[in-house]
Symmetry: C3
Subunit: 300 residues, 3 copies
């Protein structure tokens, strides 16, 4: 298999939880290479973890084993699972929807996906707590898998359809009543270390827009903040009488729409929070306005 194992949890870095998982992994598989993606998912916020993992996995080799533990149901009957996506990666964690973004994206590309339930005690620590399956079940499973144990050894194959799915929404275009513009509604899904506001609008939503439409695109957030057009970098704006705070929108490094303040922290400036609404509006192309019987409502 591989030696690379990634970790994404809501454990923080103050406690020994993460280091113990590293130790368990090295104890089983001394050749492992561990990359910590994030341990700062907000406690129990499965969707935030799901989103950030979906931004990360494509930058790791397909042989990587990704562990994700945001697990409010630890110790209950929720399943522990391993997912293999061919030519993409291996994913280990609770069956609570934390892999939903990835499964949605990869299913839409018709990737070959297999799911196994982690039930074989041979690949778990002998004494199990009911509060720390990261240590007792997920870390050992990942270490054995990376070391070469077959997925089918970890437990029975289960149908993909049985997995818990997050009920997340990808924004879609709607034609406005006027018939002259279309709008999509989304939200802030993550606020990064720099205070940048990452929304759930994927770049693919904008793929069919003309340059004229992109130039006239309006991003609306909060009470009164409207940003016109998209920038390519954090340095393509200058302070003007109309934009004294140097606020821009752009596609971020994971291809989602982001609202940023140049060399500043807009989240602190505006006391932003995950879940706040953001909308995007563009004028409709002439052809489209002439064809109201065929309204633009699509995800591509």
């Amino acid at each position: 298999m591989s030696n690379i194992i990634t970790l994404l949890t809501d454990f923080g870095q103050e406690d020994p939880y993460v280091g113990i998982m590293h130790g368990v992994i090295y104890g089983i598989h001394p050749e492992a290479k561990i990359a910590d993606l994030s341990h700062s998912i907000k406690p129990q916020k499965v969707e935030q973890g799901a989103f950030l993992l979906s931004n990360s996995y494509r930058y790791l080799p397909a042989s990587t084993v990704h562990i994700a533990v945001v697990d409010p149901g630890v110790g209950t009957k929720r399943r522990a699972i391993a997912i293999h996506i061919r030519e993409v990666g291996n994913f280990i964690g609770p069956d609570n929807g934390i892999f939903s973004y990835i499964l949605q994206a990869e299913s839409s590309r018709n990737a070959a996906i297999e799911v196994y339930e982690l039930t074989n005690p041979v690949y778990q620590l002998p004494l199990q707590s009911s509060t720390f399956h990261g240590r007792d079940i997920f870390a050992p499973a990942a270490a054995y898998l990376a070391k070469g144990t077959a997925l089918s050894e970890l437990g029975p194959n289960i149908p993909l359809e049985q997995l818990v799915k997050l009920n997340f929404q990808i924004p879609e275009w709607e034609v406005k009543k006027s018939g002259k513009a279309k709008r999509a509604r989304g939200q802030i899904i993550h606020i990064d270390h720099f205070g940048n506001l990452i929304t759930n609008f994927p770049a693919s939503l904008f793929a069919d827009l003309s340059q004229e439409q992109l130039d006239k695109l309006k991003v609306r957030y909060g009470t009164g903040l409207t940003i016109t057009g998209l920038k390519k970098t954090y340095n393509q704006s200058k302070k003007t009488a109309f934009n004294i705070n140097n606020i821009i929108s752009l596609f971020n490094s994971s291809d989602y729409l982001e609202i940023a303040q140049i060399n500043g922290d807009i989240a602190t400036l505006l006391a932003s929070k995950i879940g706040q609404k953001v909308s995007v509006e563009v004028p409709l192309n002439r052809e489209t306005t002439l064809l109201p019987e065929n309204p633009t409502k699509t995800e591509n």
Copy 2:
């Protein structure tokens, strides 16, 4: 020896202190595998470091070298030491009590323990600061030890009895005046990332209780908070008129009594602090009440 080295310090992660220790280790022992247990021990809080290390070391192979640096006496005459506990692990750090919890636990199991003072300059950096022995003494000693240098090369053997001991107390049962119940007094020893309150009551203190006693067990904390009974997971409670905040107690993943709020942060809710008192009370078994001349006062 081994390649796994763990680190536990009060250095935080903002400064390059930890990364420099990693670099010094890799420079001496390129095959090392480093697991960071925690760098968020409260500055100079040796006991907190000692407690968290004692919760972690059993999950690492016995060949592991554990470095612990919470070291208010750095640069003074306090000794630098290496401890080898057979079939358990190797421990490197200042002689200030930071290994007290582990030594107490392992001594009580009659483990074979050897102690060495780190005096041999061959296994230290050539230029030494008087403020950063993690870099200059402990990291090199651990790297050489993990790489195969004999403990006796690092410096002279010294008697275990000479080590500085923390004066910590493990809670003990006392029969209440009424003769109908027994009580133990302890404290909050750590607050984790989720705001869970970890106390210094080990699960072993409760090992002899009957199920009836466990069901009637009362955990008291602060002004007026009383929790009855123990849960097994974070999901075995529901909000009631009598427990509107969903506060429970349970044994945590390290087998200490923990007070938690389900999907919440009780430490923030109650402005909890390390060192605050917690007490536990259980009704006495009938037999025990009949034998007041043999009061329950034991650690097991």
Copy 3:
């Protein structure tokens, strides 16, 4: 080359940015050993990053590849560079002055220095964002370099003189008007996890002082704080009527003057900030006072 790669960024640890860089490195160079020096540089504070990197690199083998990413100009025309300093190390990052402290120190030792611009797309990720060159350009370049790719493969050699330089000032002595003392003016350049105030006065500035001068040295900071003399460790002071807060100055583990509170956090006590002024004053030696036509104004 080597397997050790260090990272220093302003990315924080909440987001997957750092973990993705680890993953990209391991994907290219599975034998890499990564040491995270710091990810807590204040956002866009190139000088703080430059200073902390200059405190760290000497503790790593000369074969190490150091990546530094504090990069407010990402996506603009600023160059991406690799620097090789013979017998010292390799440095990869944006050409914005982040290596200025190191280049100043190593140039003054006449080290052999070569610079290359990172232009060869073969050693970059195929799809590049304009906001995350740490992932797309710097991590791949470092991984290939560590794996054995020649520097000259990464792009064209460019003259050292063309690099962007930080305009930082190393404090210098000035004779006071009285002719009886000399003074140097500097500032706080970093505040560490313990709240220690690290200034930009290098120990070398004090190398020629007599013991009498050192004993009478006065460190002045803020309104009214004057510390007399230097300590060697955090334990060489005791609380007195004149120093109720136990504040001392000493040379820290990187040989810069530091102001510290013993077992305390002076930065919180005094609400200190990076950039605040600090001055140092010593009485002049008799000989020097007799020779006012030759004032002490030197860096050594």
